[in-house]
């Protein structure tokens, strides 16, 4: 019985993938679990294994095609099998190695033939609660998933941090098998076994019209501009104390970057201003009880924002260590999905490019981003201990906070920025 191989969805945000390499030729046998093709998603290159054994009868999409998720890309079956019927249902679109026009069609998740049998009400509850119905055992007639099954699934589902949930998905870990160490058994990222397999670096500069990453960036940035009521505030900060702090750490043999300090400062300020750490979903504001600060990193071919999770908890040295690791992975294209998703705030520094200041675009679903310019000596008026005004030369830096005015008011954003400035000028408060 021939079956269709689809472009699999590999990550929450994935809407399409680029077929980078077929590992089998048409007519070649393949065993279930054996690598079948390589693909590039938003930001990763992944090798996909065959789900069934058989012969690769037909490659619908050649290498280089950009294919929306769940669309058929190949047909597996017995040699000589008539696949004309399947080909019709597969209705291969014109194999254009160009970006597919328009958004991907709304296709239910899951492979064809694996349609979940569920009552309309069960579907409604699952959708409301973000439950994957394929994971819910049905107790109705013929295994029909009914509402109470979804409810039971919800109550039995362990509490889990979003980061851990994302990681578990990426690592293929069943959360029900994981014991949580967080409050009331909540599963955190630390509880998850294994490491996300690192994908080989893909530094391809092939003449693909637009890479998955570029397309993702383009989509995200445009979506951000479209969806957010973006406004920004600018503030100058005296970096004297930060420079001093870095030097003290340096004396201890610990390398801490300006960015690390900024992330630490922002993480603390974010716990003071939960709304800046929140995000918008439809008509609801999602307040996160965790603080994950993204660090925009320029990489070949684009930009990626690895996320320092629990930035409010792991301390400056923790941040420094994690950020160094992530930056390295980012530059090598080895970031896993979990490492660049789940952020609640982003810090972007372009001071090394000699920018005095700049305006960044919010990285959705986050609600704010801090753009940090270069640190430069500048004349400032200060008040000396005698209460007299005098000119001084100070290392100054301009911070520019872009924020989503839908949920963050101008005054609130200003207070947040003021708080960031205060922490930067009095880093002792970070302890």
């Amino acid at each position: 019985m021939a079956s269709i191989v689809i472009m699999p969805k590999q990550g929450l945000m994935m809407v399409e993938g680029t077929l980078t390499k077929w590992l089998k030729r048409e007519g070649e046998p393949v065993a279930a679990g054996e690598p079948l093709f390589e693909m590039e998603t938003d930001k990763l290159t992944i090798t996909m294994d065959a789900e069934a054994s058989g012969t690769l009868l037909k490659i619908i999409h050649p290498e280089g095609d950009v294919v929306p998720i769940t669309r058929p890309i190949a047909i597996l079956g017995e040699p000589g099998e008539d696949i004309s019927g399947l080909m019709e249902t597969a209705s291969p679109p014109e194999a254009v190695p160009a970006p597919a026009a328009g958004p991907a069609p709304a296709v239910p998740a899951g492979a064809p033939g694996r349609r979940v049998s569920a009552s309309p009400r069960a579907r409604l509850r699952a959708e409301e609660n973000g439950v994957d119905l394929t994971a819910v055992p049905g107790s109705g007639p013929g295994g029909l998933v009914i509402e109470r099954d979804v409810k039971a699934h919800l109550t039995s589902r362990p509490a889990v941090t979003p980061l851990a949930a994302n990681l578990a998905k990426a690592r293929g870990v069943h959360l029900s098998d994981v014991a949580g160490s967080g409050p009331r058994g909540k599963i955190t990222a630390a509880d998850l076994p294994g490491e996300t397999p690192a994908a080989p670096a893909s530094r391809s500069t092939r003449a693909v019209p637009m890479s998955g990453m570029r397309r993702a960036i383009a989509r995200n940035m445009l979506a951000s501009k479209d969806a957010n009521a973006q406004a920004c505030h600018r503030m100058n900060v005296d970096m004297t104390a930060v420079i001093d702090l870095r030097r003290q750490y340096g004396d201890l043999g610990v390398r801490v970057s300006y960015n690390d300090v900024l992330i630490r400062v922002c993480a603390k300020a974010l716990t003071d201003f939960p709304i800046v750490n929140a995000s918008v979903e439809g008509d609801r504001i999602l307040y996160h009880d965790y603080v994950n600060v993204g660090n925009a990193v320029s990489v070949p071919g684009g930009l990626i924002v690895p996320v320092i999770r629990d930035a409010d908890l792991i301390g400056l040295t923790g941040i420094a260590a994690r950020s160094a690791e992530l930056i390295e992975k980012a530059r090598e294209g080895r970031l896993t999905e979990a490492e660049y998703h789940g952020g609640t705030f982003t810090v972007s520094s372009l001071g090394m490019f000699d920018l005095d200041d700049f305006v960044a675009i919010i990285n959705p679903p986050e609600s704010a981003i801090l753009a940090v310019g270069k640190i430069a000596k500048a004349p400032v008026v200060i008040t000396n201990p005698l209460g007299e005004d005098e000119l001084a030369i100070r290392p100054m830096c301009t911070l520019c906070l872009s924020y989503d005015h839908r949920i963050i008011d101008g005054a609130e954003a200003a207070r947040f920025l003021q708080r960031v400035k205060h922490y930067l000028q009095h880093p002792v408060l970070l302890i």
Partner: protein
């Protein structure tokens, strides 16, 4: 406290006092006071002109009621059994129902056609049918089905004051049921407003007439098994209050409609169809529709009981809808 029959008689009396155009015509309504006593002794107050015995000529007197309504009266015509509607079907379905519309809206038809129906008294095939679905099917007739004394009073008053032909369905086994009836001489139950007779969370049971009591009994049995049933009486089939039922189903996710009328094309099928459209995403189980089997109603009590839905069938249907064995 008043019985269902007394409530009907009481409202007829009050409305006849209130409006001299209102009068009763039907078989055995005068001295006999109608078979179930719904006009008992009213002739003493209103005389034989306004409590008017008719010949056993359903076509003539139902048609005459229609003619009198066209000519400024407000008749309450009484058929002894709803089964006899077939004797005068033309006057009901071709004349009463259509007069206003076919005359381009140039007619008001303020008349009530009352009768009783249903099983329970061994009246057999031609005196036990439940026929309200047919009246719902033909446009132009309002259809009221009181299940309790207060509803009988409130709906009948609304019917008598309505300027449209109203078919008023009583059930022969309800006449002796007793309950409080509001004394207010203007107490009306609006048409098109269902009554939630019992609140519940797990399954919505919709029933009318005698089967409201059966549904309530089933709900009681279900409660003992931990299933909470909501019981809704639509009270009028035309107009029909689908909204209340849809809201209930959005809450419970399950719908069981039960009536004594035959299941085939019974009004419950229409309810199921509408609710599937209005509340489909909320359904957790296929809606169930129970009604009398496709068989003329037999005389022997055991045979009769085998044709109409039983309380245990209602309970079983609700449990099946709740996936409880």
């Amino acid at each position: 406290m008043m019985t269902y029959a007394q409530a009907i008689r009481h409202v007829i009396q009050q409305e006849m006092r209130r409006d001299p155009r209102v009068f009763v015509m039907g078989e055995d309504v005068e001295k006999h006071g109608s078979v179930f006593g719904t006009t008992r002794d009213l002739y003493k107050e209103f005389g034989p002109d306004r409590i008017r015995n008719t010949p056993i000529s359903e076509s003539a007197f139902v048609g005459a009621a229609l003619g009198a309504a066209c000519a400024g009266m407000r008749p309450i015509a009484e058929l002894m059994y709803w089964d006899f509607a077939f004797v005068c079907a033309d006057q009901i379905f071709n004349q009463m129902a259509k007069t206003r519309y076919v005359f381009g809206g140039n007619a008001k038809i303020p008349m009530v056609l009352r009768s009783q129906q249903g099983t329970g008294r061994g009246n057999a095939a031609t005196h036990s049918q439940s026929l309200e679905s047919i009246f719902m099917h033909i446009p132009g007739l309002k259809v009221a089905c009181p299940s309790a004394p207060a509803d009988a009073a409130g709906l009948l008053r609304t019917a008598i004051r309505d300027d449209n032909p109203v078919c008023f369905f009583e059930h022969k086994m309800l006449y002796t049921t007793q309950a409080d009836v509001p004394e207010d001489p203007d107490f009306c139950v609006p048409f098109g407003k269902a009554s939630i007779r019992r609140e519940g969370a797990d399954v919505t049971i919709v029933a009318n007439l005698y089967y409201v009591s059966q549904a309530l009994e089933a709900a009681e049995a279900l409660a003992r098994e931990g299933i909470s049933a909501e019981v809704i009486d639509p009270r009028t089939l035309v107009p029909f209050d689908y909204d209340t039922i849809a809201e209930s189903v959005k809450k419970t996710g399950r719908l069981v409609v039960v009536h004594e009328a035959h299941q085939n094309n019974g009004w419950g099928a229409q309810v199921v169809s509408q609710i599937c459209q209005m509340a489909f995403p909320y359904l957790d189980a296929a809606p169930v529709h129970l009604g009398a089997k496709a068989c003329p109603l037999p005389f022997n009590p055991a045979l009769e009981a085998a044709v109409i839905p039983s309380v245990s069938e209602i309970v079983a249907a609700c449990k099946a809808a709740c996936y409880v064995s």
